[in-house]
């Protein structure tokens, strides 16, 4: 790995932050199912997946902290809501079970595309981390797929709820591939082996045939410029919750 120039470091930091924030926020929403999932066995499974995401976020924040000489917990807990860079898909509260299943399916499929590209990153620590994450994501994808089929091919109520969830999440799902500040730098250095646009196309091509039999035909959709900057009241609430204790006494150790 060559010495990073300022622009290179900046762009890499933005990339790491975007992936870390995605994992952090989805991990939070899904961890809300702990204790109240539809079945006890499923409760434990969902909690494991949510914990994996938090674990991935932790590793990504640690990588970012090394790069920017910061502290991982400070990055996770010390920012205002407006400074988060997760995709708009993660702005929504967990909703009902169908909503969570739909959002997770859209996220896992997008994350699979992204991770396969990050595993080829010229920034070795990121490539290694992405490789590790992909191994854990195998289970996530199996599980997301199992629920897609069970709700999508089962009783009418499940199918309808799932279809409605996909329709309402479709636009925001594109934002996993929202343009990043400094994307040209990322591609030039090889930190990102493919640009967001290409990843977006790959993902859509893979996911439409799985989702449309359930949701019906989905409109054309592309990421938008503020896809990682716009926030919602739901996220504001979440942010308030997770900074409640950490923010209660500045500088304290927990």
């Amino acid at each position: 790995m060559t010495e990073l120039d300022v622009a290179g470091r900046e762009s890499l930091a933005q990339l790491l932050l975007s992936v870390a924030d995605d994992e952090f926020v989805i991990g939070f929403w899904d961890s809300e199912w702990t204790g109240i999932a539809p079945m006890l066995e499923e409760d434990v499974a969902t909690s494991s997946i949510a914990q994996d995401e938090i674990g991935h976020a932790k590793a990504l924040y640690e990588l970012l902290a090394q790069l920017t000489e910061d502290d991982p917990d400070r990055i996770a807990y010390g920012r205002d809501a407006a400074e988060f860079r997760h995709a708009a898909l993660l702005n929504h509260a967990r909703g009902d079970w169908a909503f969570s299943v739909a959002r997770r399916y859209l996220y896992e499929t997008a994350d699979a595309v992204r991770l396969s590209v990050l595993a080829r990153s010229s920034h070795e620590p990121l490539a290694l981390l992405a490789g590790k994450m992909r191994r854990e994501e195998t289970y996530h994808m199996l599980h997301a797929d199992a629920w897609l089929r069970r709700l999508g091919e089962g009783a009418p109520e499940g199918r309808e709820r799932l279809a409605a969830a996909f329709s309402s999440l479709w636009a925001d799902a594109q934002e996993i591939f929202a343009p990043l500040a400094g994307e040209e730098e990322l591609v030039r250095h090889g930190f990102l082996a493919e640009p967001m646009g290409a990843m977006h196309a790959t993902w859509q091509a893979a996911v439409r045939p799985k989702v449309e039999p359930i949701s019906g035909s989905l409109p054309d959709a592309w990421p938008t410029a503020d896809g990682r900057a716009r926030r919602t009241d739901d996220f504001a609430w979440l942010h308030g919750e997770f900074t409640k204790v950490s923010g209660s006494e500045v500088g304290a150790t927990w």
Partner: protein, 319 residues
């Protein structure tokens, strides 16, 4: 003749005939074990079921006091540890409902009885949590008091329960370490963090002392006789105090019972008599958080009924 080399005949196995209750109680009273599909007297089956069902209910309800704090855990590592701990409690509920179900009561029935207030869960889960320090105190001391009971149950006559307890005890030992770590970090922190811990201890000490239940008359304690549990309530409380009072005091915390002292002559801990009336009122659903927690459970259960129906194809699907 080779008398010295003759083989001693095997003694016949100690078993009881199906239907012979006296022989059965002789068997369990002398350390014998029972499996799910062995014959057992109705009394024994009912006693084990009641015991295990209350335990399962407690694990499930025990999730709720701490659940709010999953969202509020102040560092990445604490978030992981706390989510994992609560996940384990849900897992324990599953393990215990499975044991109970194999005794003949369907899971959906047990969940419904819990929500309808017909069956009980342990006192400590009827109280609210107010601060991050509660998270530490619960994971450390409440889990410790529970593990003292649970270790004694590893030798239960009902073998499926005993085996489950071994797994649960192993998992709980991790929770206690997490709880103690949280408390230690706070005690080594700022003055207001230490005050937070003391305040939490002040609120939780009473329920903790009530947790193992009032002393029972050993002669009348069926659970003890039948080997369902191995130690009586007072033994468990004494064990808890012996291990944990020194560990609490060495941090500079004050236990809010001025009468608490170890009598070196008798080897017993003396303490202010816990409020048994409070215990009774709480476990029958009149605790400060009883109704709100059951209400929350009823709501979540109702909200997810469509999923169970979709998956299992009938209106009486269990969670």
């Amino acid at each position: 003749m080779e008398d010295a080399d003759t083989i001693q005949p095997m003694s016949p196995p100690q078993r009881y005939a199906a239907g012979d209750a006296d022989a059965f109680y002789g068997h369990v009273g002398s350390g014998g074990k029972v499996e799910a599909d062995d014959w057992m007297p109705d009394d024994y089956r009912a006693a084990v079921l009641k015991f295990v069902e209350m335990h399962a209910n407690s694990e499930l309800m025990g999730v709720l006091p701490e659940r709010d704090w999953i969202m509020r855990a102040p560092t990445l590592r604490r978030k992981l540890a706390l989510t994992s701990k609560i996940q384990d409690e849900v897992g324990h509920a599953q393990l215990l409902y499975r044991v109970a179900e194999d005794l003949g009561k369907p899971r959906v029935q047990m969940l419904q009885d819990l929500l309808d207030g017909k069956t009980k869960f342990h006192n400590v889960f009827h109280y609210p949590t107010r601060s991050w320090a509660d998270v530490g105190i619960i994971a450390w001391l409440v889990d410790a008091a529970a593990i003292v009971s649970q270790q004694a149950l590893r030798d239960s006559s009902y073998a499926p329960y005993a085996r489950t307890m071994k797994k649960i005890c192993w998992e709980e030992s991790v929770h206690i370490m997490h709880g103690r770590d949280v408390v230690l970090t706070l005690m080594n922190g700022t003055a207001s963090q230490r005050a937070m811990v003391q305040e939490a201890l002040d609120r939780w000490w009473g329920p903790l002392m009530q947790m193992h239940g009032p002393p029972t008359d050993p002669a009348k304690d069926k659970d003890l006789h039948w080997g369902i549990k191995a130690k009586n309530n007072e033994q468990l409380r004494q064990e808890f105090l012996s291990i944990y009072v020194p560990r609490v005091r060495e941090l500079g915390l004050v236990i809010p019972d001025p009468a608490l002292r170890h009598d070196d002559a008798t080897g017993r801990w003396e303490y202010t008599e816990p409020d048994w009336a409070e215990l009774k009122s709480v476990v029958t659903g009149h605790g400060p958080a009883s109704e709100s927690r059951l209400g929350f459970r009823r709501e979540s259960f109702a909200d997810t009924q469509w999923v169970r129906d979709a998956l299992l194809g009938n209106a009486t699907a269990a969670a």
